[in-house]
């Protein structure tokens, strides 16, 4: 395990920095059910960090804790070296954490462009009066942000569906638009909840490429949940493995692959 706080350079030449987010002894309960029990791990700057585990392992709950949708009963969350106070999800978004969802959560009544523009929300500041007048600051700000969004659109190769209502798009493209919306926020930390669920091989390849490119080009730190082991092992720098709300492994893909607990969990050894 990489216990050091110093940065290092990966084989393909990317720089991995100090931890941006540290989860310390997180426990989350729903009524009597413990979804996450005493889990600690960190996410380093610039890395692709995967969270894996069988169904019901607490992966999605973990993401929900990170972006403030759930509030853990115990444990601490440190972001950029500061202990985070209990916050509402939108405040956490304003700190620079963006995410996508397992079941697509696009705004169905809006076009692709508008959906991605919504991702710029936290960066836009003109007040209501200026908005009402439009000409002047509001329009300027809109165009500046439009420029950024157009880059995202180019990057994800979805120019052709710019004005299409997202409800009409096929599944794979919707996933891509959702990624675009998260990217538009230029987040410090990007959470991806099963970005490749339900995709065919080609779509998965495309998506993997986008994730790697995002990480490479913008240096975005990414934490993702994924079921497809092949993909996870291919693209992530480090992997944390959960099972029944407990952490059973953490390390590079190779380390995890050889971890006996992980093998047991995936092969379905009975729990006592």
């Amino acid at each position: 395990m990489n216990a050091t706080a110093e940065s290092y350079v990966t084989e393909d030449g990317r720089t991995i920095g100090a931890p941006v987010m540290e989860m310390k002894n997180i426990t989350l309960k729903f009524g009597g059910v413990t979804a996450i029990s005493n889990i600690s791990f960190d996410i380093r700057e610039g890395e692709i960090r995967a969270i894996i585990g069988p169904n019901g392992a607490g992966k999605s709950s973990m993401l929900n804790v990170i972006n403030g949708f759930y509030h853990p009963q115990e444990g601490e969350i440190w972001f950029h070296g500061e202990k985070r106070k209990p916050m509402k999800p939108y405040q956490i978004a304003q700190q620079g954490i963006a995410r996508t969802f397992q079941n697509i959560a696009l705004f169905k009544g809006m076009s692709t462009l508008d959906n991605i523009m919504t991702g710029r929300f936290t960066h836009m500041k003109t007040n209501m009066l200026m908005q009402a007048i439009w000409k002047g600051p509001a329009e300027r700000e809109e165009n500046l942000n439009r420029d950024i969004v157009e880059h995202v659109i180019d990057f994800l190769e979805i120019q052709a569906i710019r004005k299409t209502p997202v409800g009409r798009l096929p599944y794979g493209l919707q996933k891509r638009v959702e990624l675009g919306r998260a990217l538009a926020a230029q987040p410090k930390l990007l959470l991806l909840d099963e970005p490749m669920a339900g995709m065919n091989v080609e779509e998965k390849e495309d998506m993997s490429r986008f994730i790697l490119d995002v990480n490479d080009e913008f240096g975005t730190t990414i934490a993702l949940i994924e079921h497809d082991m092949g993909v996870v092992m291919d693209i992530s720098d480090r992997v944390v493995v959960l099972d029944y709300g407990k952490k059973i492994g953490d390390g590079t893909p190779d380390e995890v692959r050889n971890n006996q607990d992980v093998i047991d969990a995936y092969l379905g050894v009975a729990h006592d």
Binding site: P89, Y90, R99, L106, T118, F121, A132, W134, R181
Partner: protein
């Protein structure tokens, strides 16, 4: 091929986001504005056919005022997805605010009074919007009825609101803008019309600006999926309250105009009762949720149709008035159902579909 958008390329973002990106639409828009601002007032001044007063007081004024209110409610229901049945009560706030302002500050311009009335209504709207953080859907709709009934009761009960008059009726004194009277019985048809028209155009313009930018997108995000919206940084309460505020601002303006310019005298239970809340919701849904153009044609439809039906049945066919009135209910009800079946997304969507057809015409393939 009458309606074309090809060959109409945009080279800047500003041009791409303009309200009417297609040249033909733009021309239509300017034509309508020209008719509204020049042709109709000229006709009113010349009193073509002797019907200037009828047209203004029975058709144009209610249409313009309802269109303002309808845009207001569409912001809340159509853009932000918060179902409200309190609009009648909010219109009453606008009306009584304008009455108090008119009688307390006789020299204040009616234009300022109307805007201030809107602002006061916005405050009340925000207050009654607070429960929307926890209450959703139909539950919220029913909850907003609390505002409707409470406000009506309050304006009926607290004598200060109607200056302690014996019956509780409020009557609008004569007030003017730039020397032209717009309220009171002696105001000319064209002055009243233009005053409301200017406000409608202003409201539509502001609504369009708000809905195309950051705030509008945050409203729609809350409407489409409130949890996802919150997770990308939209504060739910603030956003919902801003929609309640803006919506009530417009509805308050409409309420003030409804009382001061259109009716001239009002009593809260009758002029701003629960029926008004429903009527407004009709306009918004028939016109098209989430469409400013739809709000306007929805208002036109709901104002014009009963008058038209009545004039045909009583005026043309000489039916007994009560039978005509019963049939009016039957027809209005049936038309609403038929429209919903044909196009649940409202007249605005019907118009869009028509344009798409026209674009391909006469070669649909």
């Amino acid at each position: 091929m009458f309606y074309r958008e090809s060959g109409d390329f945009k080279t800047t973002y500003a041009k791409d986001t303009q309200t009417f990106p297609i040249k033909l639409d733009r021309m239509g828009y300017y034509t309508i504005l020209a008719i509204a601002f020049v042709v109709i007032p000229t006709m009113l001044v010349m009193n073509v056919g002797g019907g200037a007063n009828y047209w203004t007081n029975a058709i144009l004024l209610p249409f313009l005022i309802w269109a303002i209110a309808s845009i207001g409610l569409n912001i809340l229901v159509g853009y932000c997805g918060q179902l409200s049945l309190g609009s009648g009560g909010f219109m009453a706030v606008g009306a009584y605010a304008s009455y108090k302002l008119m009688t307390s500050f006789p020299d204040l311009s009616i234009f300022i009074i109307v805007l201030l009335s809107g602002a006061i209504t916005a405050g009340v709207g925000i207050l009654f919007g607070l429960p929307s953080l926890r209450i959703k859907g139909f539950y919220l709709a029913v909850a907003t009825l609390a505002a409707q009934f409470f406000l009506v009761w309050m304006f009926n009960k607290v004598q200060w609101f109607y200056n302690y008059s014996a019956s509780g009726q409020i009557s609008a004194p004569t007030r003017s803008v730039f020397g032209f009277e717009v309220t009171g019985a002696t105001a000319s048809a064209e002055a009243k019309y233009l005053f409301c028209l200017v406000l409608l155009v202003g409201v539509a313009w502001v609504a369009r600006n708000l809905t195309r930018g950051r705030i509008g997108r945050s409203w729609m995000a809350i409407r489409d999926m409130d949890i996802a919206a919150e997770i990308i940084g939209v504060a739910p309460l603030k956003t919902k309250l801003s929609a309640f505020g803006i919506s009530s601002f417009f509805i308050g303006i409409a309420g003030a105009l409804f009382f001061a310019v259109y009716l001239g005298a009002a009593e809260v239970g009758e002029a701003f009762g629960i029926q008004k809340s429903f009527l407004l919701l009709f306009m918004v849904i028939i016109g098209g949720l989430g469409s400013i153009f739809g709000s306007i044609i929805g208002a036109a439809f709901m104002v014009l149709m009963p008058v038209l039906l009545k004039n045909i049945m009583v005026g043309q066919l000489n039916w007994a008035t009560d039978i005509a009135a019963h049939f009016e209910f039957v027809f209005v009800g049936a038309l609403i159902i038929i429209f919903l079946i044909l196009e649940p997304h409202g007249l605005a969507q019907l118009w869009r579909l028509l344009k798409e057809k026209l674009r391909l015409w006469p070669f649909p393939h």
